[in-house]
């Protein structure tokens, strides 16, 4: 060992070193998740009234009011949620739960599910407790979501995507759209969803508010969005690798391409297999931009992977980045597509693959 190394190793390590590392990581997480407040504009409110008038589900004005702030803000990083709100899918639940111990009133507004994911729109407010840092954080906080059947079976539901959150300072109200595992299998059953624990974020530490917020309803068909699956098995080459689009799954919440490829599995020296980021996935993520306070959006002008349908560009849903796939499979998730008659996958500038048989 050289003397220079010996000298450098004499530099004492401060006790709070790892805390500083954590702070750096936390900064990134908060940028990805934090939703800054956007002032409501009259124009946006007018548009909302128009959409509310067009929606075909019995979504009341009060419910629209509950998620309009998220909808009108450009801070949404989940195009699937936007589509749900815009087209009026899902069903109003309109149930209120009062958490007496913590003096928080919880309003359950709307739920929609398909065979991949559930979206639950919730608002909560308090007269006495400042809710600025309160979040139902299923991704990395202390919060958990459970489904309880009439028979008493209780099953945890994992998060899918980041979900979206908006804090209305004036009303001291949190408006949040949660994304978690599908509950479609409970169709026709009386079920209870339970939100366990609230996560309190601050720069210094993350705290847990122990509680359970329940909502009970019968899951009828109106809550469920259909999924249209197109089996493709279409091969294409990109950067000397071969990829196969196994199938495309269209729903009101998302468009999901299930893809396998020749560079998705890494085998280490012990023969263990790991999922690798393929060249295609790198290209997909190339157009991803992380914005302070608004999560993931498309970096305009950057090369990426998009869908094209009816002349419109359909953006990736980067907030679904952590959806786990089977080994050797990549789920490429985009915003929903309405007109599915002629959909094209556009990779970079030159490669175009039709998603029609």
């Amino acid at each position: 060992m050289s003397n220079i190394k010996h000298e450098i190793e004499k530099i004492k390590i401060p006790k709070n070193l790892h805390e500083r590392t954590k702070l750096g990581v936390k900064q990134v997480k908060q940028e990805q998740k934090g939703k800054s407040i956007v002032k409501r504009s009259l124009a946006a409110a007018a548009i909302l009234i128009g959409i509310a008038g067009l929606s075909f589900t019995p979504v009341g004005a009060a419910v629209k009011e509950a998620y309009d702030k998220i909808f009108e803000s450009e801070k949404i990083d989940d195009p699937g949620l936007k589509a749900v709100l815009k087209d009026g899918h899902g069903q109003a639940i309109t149930q209120t739960y009062f958490d007496k111990k913590h003096d928080i009133t919880v309003h359950f507004e709307n739920v929609i599910t398909d065979n991949k994911e559930t979206k639950l729109l919730v608002t909560f407010e308090s007269d006495t407790k400042n809710l600025k840092n309160y979040a139902i954080d299923l991704f990395e906080g202390f919060s958990k979501m459970y489904v309880v059947t009439a028979g008493g079976e209780r099953k945890e539901l994992d998060n899918i995507g980041w979900g979206s959150r908006h804090y209305d300072k004036k009303e001291n109200k949190v408006i949040t759209a949660l994304s978690f595992d599908s509950i479609k299998e409970y169709e026709g059953q009386a079920i209870r969803l339970e939100i366990e624990n609230i996560t309190i974020w601050s720069y210094q530490k993350t705290e847990k508010m122990k509680t359970v917020w329940p909502v009970a309803f019968t899951l009828d068909k109106s809550y469920i969005s259909d999924v249209e699956t197109v089996a493709l098995n279409k091969e294409f080459s990109y950067k000397n690798e071969t990829y196969t689009i196994q199938k495309v799954e269209y729903s009101e919440l998302e468009t999901r391409l299930v893809i396998t490829g020749t560079d998705m599995i890494y085998i280490d020296q012990f023969g263990d297999k790991y999922q690798m980021k393929s060249k295609l996935e790198h290209q997909f993520l190339n157009a991803r931009q992380i914005n302070r306070g608004s999560g993931y959006t498309v970096a305009e002008g950057k090369s990426g992977v998009f869908l094209r349908a009816s002349g419109e560009r359909i953006d990736p849903n980067f907030s679904k980045g952590e959806v786990d796939s089977e080994l050797g499979t990549f789920y490429m998730i985009f915003a929903p597509v309405e007109d599915r008659s002629n959909v094209v996958l556009e990779i970079g500038e030159d490669l175009k693959v039709s998603l029609n048989k």
Binding site: S2, N3, I4, K5, H6, E7, I8, E9, K10, I11, I13, P14, N16, L17, H18, R20, T21, K22, L23, G24, V25, K26, Q27, V28, K29, E31, Q32, F139, E140, Y266, D268, Y274, Q275, M276, K277, H282, L285, R288, I290, G321, E322, D324
Partner: protein
Amino acid sequence: MIRLVHKAQKGNDKAFLKLFQQYEEDIYRMAYVYVKNESDALDVVQEVAYRSFKKINTLKSPEYFKTWLIRIAITCSLDLMRKNKKVVHLKPEYQERIGLEEEDVPLSITLEELLEQLNEHERSIVLLKFYEGYSFKEISELVDMPLGSVKSVLYRALAKLRKEFKEADFYE
């Protein structure tokens, strides 16, 4: 490790912290050699954690995670140095003799000399060679410099240190 990198690339901060923790002491000490005080070196570590987690999707080969981190650490250290040109005078408590593998010339160096006498390039290459143990080829890739230049900068740095020692020796 590959699996942890992949998890981190999916946004899993716990996986990233587990990975980063293995190298944070190295990063802190390297940063200290540049910025010469605890407070700024801690700032560098936080900034390296921030930048690397934010950009982990750009890491194409998980097996090069450590090298990638070190490159970021050097960049952050230089950024901070340029931002606040602080000079901290350390008091050397001792002087030792050093034998260099490549040359059979005795050399003595203290931390203070290392901190005070070398410019940014020299500091980077000395750190990578003697603290991190990288080969000349690896260093040339890390600092984006031709192999010949890396060698000549290192020898220049060592000559500087030797020169300082001789001067100090002369006045003792």
